[in-house]
């Protein structure tokens, strides 16, 4: 086997193992750490959800696929922890002016944080951000 072949094999193996050693994805190199961390903290069970309230007061949990074709669960969590939940709601509202089904106009968007004690699964839901939709009636004159 030539020296070039040996170098290529070594380099490939180093690159494949690099994300394993550094414990991070370095696209197009991947770390395979899914389901490796045992769930011991309540924070590991948390999920986020989007809710809309229409003009008649009806509340509806919005399915992630309705508003964002990517992985909304991660975006909601990341924006929440970066203190950008308001930005998230504003962007989602702009992307999705009329969520499906467009029945009654939406009055408010809410970001919900759902947590539960480990192994108890009695969820606790808190509204962590809300965005009132500006309409002609609610908008201030200078807007």
């Amino acid at each position: 086997m030539s020296r070039t072949a040996k170098t290529f094999i070594t380099l490939t193996l180093v690159l494949i193992l690099l994300p394993f050693v550094l414990q991070t994805d370095l696209y197009p190199l991947f770390r395979f750490g899914m389901f490796a961390e045992p769930i011991k903290r309540a924070v590991q069970t948390e999920t986020f959800a989007l809710r809309t309230i229409d003009r008649t007061g009806n509340r509806r949990i919005v399915s992630p696929e309705e508003v964002h074709p990517g992985n909304l669960a991660y975006l909601m969590r990341n924006y929440y922890y970066r203190n950008q939940a308001d930005t998230l709601l504003a962007r989602l509202q702009r992307i999705c002016q009329n969520p499906v089904p467009p029945q009654t106009p939406i009055r408010e968007w809410q970001l919900l944080r759902v947590t539960s004690e480990v192994a108890r699964y009695r969820p606790d839901t808190v509204v962590v951000a809300r965005l009132e939709v500006q309409t002609r009636e609610t908008a201030k004159p200078n807007e």
């Binding site: 086997m1 094999i9 490939t12 494949i16 045992p38 992985n71 991660y74």
Partner: protein
């Protein structure tokens, strides 16, 4: 490698470990509290982009353990590499074994089966990408490119660009399936498939979530041009053997992650039960209520992931591990809706047949 080489290697390994223990480990609390030197913060942000979010979710001890893991894993990889190099240098039988291992030759029919099956899979798995990219375009405000795309200064593509690139990927896959015999053409087509697949997948992952569904296929894509070149030149197919080894190592890494991060606690029935509750399905809820299944299934999964790489060295074990792999991926989907019944990981098993 001579004695000097080993001394140099061991000294470098020891120095790096001491550097961490005596200095870098102390910087972890500083970066957690936001008062670390700028260069260290920059390194952490680059190598661990989730740190900005996770420092609000986990305590300091979690990140110190995370940093310790880097040194432990670096040591583990070094120890295995050193053992391999040392044994190859010292024992002729080991050298002979490795020479035979890399000197792989297979029939014309088998290689073409691999090529046709593999590139048909790429065509199939990337079939829906245009629609995904086109609909992601309206969510451009959330675009946060993966480092590779950031490095290339690539913005998110408008639908017409995605359309051209996806059409290019599909056409290249078809040409690769067709399989021209001209060396240059085959290699160029397979390189184009690898580049386009990596680029388009990178855009799909640029919304703060990396998916691993196509990870081993991505690795295989980058090795296939070399496999085809070697075959066309009638050389030993060490690149194909490397491809198999890489797939085996991917499973091994997934298994080692569980042992290194979770320890033996990972095998506790509660760990598996918690995963099932977090990814609820009807079957998963039933399994969660059966204590013995919550012991047997994760143990089986761990043994499968740690053992799969043995197929590369003892090919007859494929009749155990390949069916086990199909069951493993189908089971993960049935129990937690992770992955799918038609799985890109399983698609790669063709290279082991």
């Amino acid at each position: 490698m001579n004695r000097k080489g080993y001394v140099f290697w061991l000294a470098g390994w020891l120095s790096a470990t001491l550097l961490y223990v005596c200095w870098l480990r102390g910087l972890v609390p500083q970066v957690f509290h936001g008062n670390a030197p700028a260069w260290f913060t920059a390194i952490v942000n680059w190598t661990y982009p989730r740190f900005g979010v996770e420092k609000h979710r986990f305590e300091l001890a979690f990140f110190v353990r995370h940093a310790d893991q880097i040194v432990i894993r670096f040591g583990l990889v070094n120890a295995v590499a050193l053992a391999l190099v040392f044994s190859s240098n010292r024992y002729a039988s080991v050298r002979h074994y490795w020479a035979g291992f890399w000197n792989l030759r297979i029939s014309f029919a088998r290689l073409h089966l691999y090529r046709i099956f593999f590139y048909t899979g790429i065509l199939f798995f990337s079939g829906g990408w245009y629609l995904q990219l086109a609909s992601l375009h309206r969510a451009g405000a959330f675009y946060k490119p993966v480092p590779l795309l950031r490095l290339l200064h690539l913005p998110f593509p408008p639908p017409w660009v995605s359309g051209i690139l996806c059409a290019g990927l599909a056409a290249s896959c078809l040409l690769a399936v067709w399989g021209f015999r001209q060396i240059l053409f085959s290699i160029i087509v397979s390189i184009i498939v690898a580049v386009l697949f990596t680029l388009l997948q990178g855009w799909l992952f640029s919304f703060e979530k990396m998916d691993h569904a196509f990870a081993p296929i991505t690795y295989a894509l980058w090795l296939m041009p070399l496999v085809m070149r070697q075959y066309e030149k009638n050389e030993p197919l060490w690149a194909l053997q490397l491809l198999r080894l890489v797939v085996g190592l991917v499973y091994l890494q997934a298994g080692l992650e569980k042992l290194l991060v979770g320890g033996w606690e990972w095998l506790s029935p509660d760990t598996f039960r918690n995963y099932l509750y977090l990814h609820p399905t009807a079957l998963g809820s039933w399994v969660a209520a059966q204590n013995w299944l919550c012991v047997v299934l994760p143990l089986g999964a761990l043994l499968f992931q740690l053992g799969f790489v043995s197929v590369v060295f003892v090919p007859r074990l494929r009749w155990v591990f390949l069916p086990a792999g199909v069951l493993f991926h189908a089971g993960t989907y049935a129990l937690m809706h992770v992955g799918g019944y038609v799985n890109a990981w399983v698609w790669l098993y063709v290279f082991f047949i």
